[in-house]
Amino acid sequence: MNDLPNPSKRKSWLDHLSGMPPSILISAIWIVFMILVAVLADVIAPYDYKHMDLLDRLRPPIWLENGVWSHPLGTDDLGRDVLSRIIFSIRISLFVALMGTFIGAVLGTSLGFAAAHFRGRVDDLIMVLIDFQAALPFLILALAVLAFFENSFLLFVLIMGIYGWERYARIVRGLALSARSHGYAVSMQVLGATPARIYLRHILPNVSSAIIVNMTLNFPETILVETSLSFLGLGIQPPLTSLGNMVGFGRDYLLTAWWIVVLPSMVIFVTSLAFSLLGDWLRDELDPTLRGN
């Protein structure tokens, strides 16, 4: 066994940034742009997303015949400004996805820790729940819950939270179990640390990079699930708007006003693509051993 010290292998922030390929850089810029749009929606949207201008319905976007600058991306069947609606949809979709990812991470991590710490019956129970969640396609599960309960915004966000918790739980449970058998959990116990301290100060930081990696996977998927459910009319309900919503309601106007469907679809596509690319790259940078997934 080599007794010489190893040189430090930690990369600094700058090293990471300068290694970004252009496609990733563009993705990152787009995402920052989306976040800004979401945050500044009230300020930059020309109209309220509910505002109807019934005399100006189905107006085409500016680059087509009959387009006007007051509605640069046109209007929909109720005279609502498409640009404003897209802006607010971005805010709502990102917000829901963020809350959902966060709830899923907290729920999954807590249960993962609980399973690893208490073992025995608790562990068995949680493993069974994980199996159950993984056994049913999430869409079906969500639809079932939505069928039985009234669809409110709160309920919907909670459902988004449940998406993917089992992945966090599995990962965290595995890591916590191996951390426990590892020396440092035992050492900390012998030194007098309480279990809470051991989990929060020692195991959690060592588990955090896996959690973050999973969040980068979870977030774009959550956006896609929310969009799909909204498209079906079972997600975000009017008067609230969402990108999926817009596509769903715009279906009837494909011939007469294709922009109502195409423009939000493009936003969905580019944003989702940007998150996927950035997420892949982040995963490679944070932990090359996870590559190939």
């Binding site: 049913l136 396609p137 639809l143 799909s228 596509v247 190939g292």
Partner: protein, 309 residues
């Protein structure tokens, strides 16, 4: 394979199914009076009482659970709002259309996706490889309803080449299948590419070459079988994606299958049908995962001899 191991797997699968039925029962009870839920508000009081009797709602919760379970086991999921018919019948009626869609999709997904991935892995870093990788990333960033709508717009509405709803002729099948197959083919392409890449650089491939095998033979005899093992794992996941994909695609194309039925039922709160579909889907998934699990154990000799759970 060790029969005890298989038996344990089957046991775990059964427990999951029981849990699923319990879950449906719980949310059914949590969401309000099941009689009113299932039959609607315009029904007479006698009908409500009759329902309560049949489902044992006047008895203790434990007895209710057991009779619920018993009914389900006998295929009695309650009555649909659609003409007051048996929920299971309503669902099974629409099953063939969905299965057709899924079957065709699977053929295209495997038939296009896997060879594309293998091709890409064998021609790494060429234009073909990069094109395939680029296309696949784009494909699974597109939710399938977007693909569907765009296809309808272009092929159906503007060029009037294909019909946009219903399922009468073979032409009706084209767009839905393309919609469903795109994202999944992309996933399989990426997956088989990375599985092949891992295997191609493994030491046993060098040994095969050293033994004198030509490249093609080495790939066929050694690389492909080993690369197929991880593919089996995502096979289980694939069934889930098929079901979810079908649900959305059928709604985009007004395809008369279970997916459309499900969304309609959710909107109408036709709970008998919803619970029937949910449980059937769950059982299907559990069986699919079980088969994958067993196949995996059989294919990979490393796991053949017992487990450490």
């Amino acid at each position: 394979m060790n029969p005890t191991v298989v038996a344990i797997k089957i046991l775990r699968a059964s427990i999951t199914v029981v849990l699923l039925v319990t879950f449906v029962f719980v949310i059914l009870r949590l969401s309000g009076d099941p009689a009113v839920q299932m039959l609607g508000l315009e029904v007479s009081d006698e009908a409500l009482d009759q329902f309560r009797q049949r489902w044992g709602l006047d008895r203790s919760i434990w007895e209710q659970y057991l009779s619920f379970f018993w009914n389900i086991l006998h295929g009695d999921f309650g009555q649909s709002f659609i003409g007051g018919r048996d929920a299971l019948g309503v669902v099974l009626e629409r099953l063939p259309k969905t299965l057709q869609l899924m079957g065709l999709t699977t053929i295209f997904t495997f038939g296009l996706g896997i060879p594309a991935g293998i091709y890409a892995s064998l021609h790494r870093n060429t234009i073909a490889d990069r094109a395939i990788m680029g296309f696949t990333v784009a494909s699974f960033s597109l939710p399938n309803f977007v693909v569907g709508i765009i296809l309808i717009m272009i092929l159906g509405v503007y060029f009037r080449l294909l019909p946009t709803s219903g399922s009468e002729t073979w032409l009706h099948y084209i767009m839905p299948v393309i919609t469903m197959a795109t994202a999944d083919a992309a996933i399989f392409a990426r997956f088989s590419r990375s599985a092949m890449l891992e295997v191609l650089h493994a030491p046993f491939m060098r040994t095969a070459r050293a033994k004198g095998l030509m490249w093609g033979q080495a790939v066929r005899r050694h690389a492909l079988p080993n690369a197929s093992i991880p593919l089996v794992t995502i096979g289980g996941m694939y069934v889930g994606r098929l079901i979810a994909g079908a649900t959305i695609t059928e709604n985009v194309f007004a395809w008369p299958g279970i997916g459309k039925l499900l969304v309609n039922s959710v909107n109408l709160r036709d709970l008998a049908v919803v619970q029937c579909i949910v449980i059937l889907v769950g059982v299907t998934m559990v069986i699919a995962n079980l088969l994958v699990d067993i196949a995996y154990g059989w294919l990979d000799p490393r796991t053949r001899t017992g487990e450490s759970q």
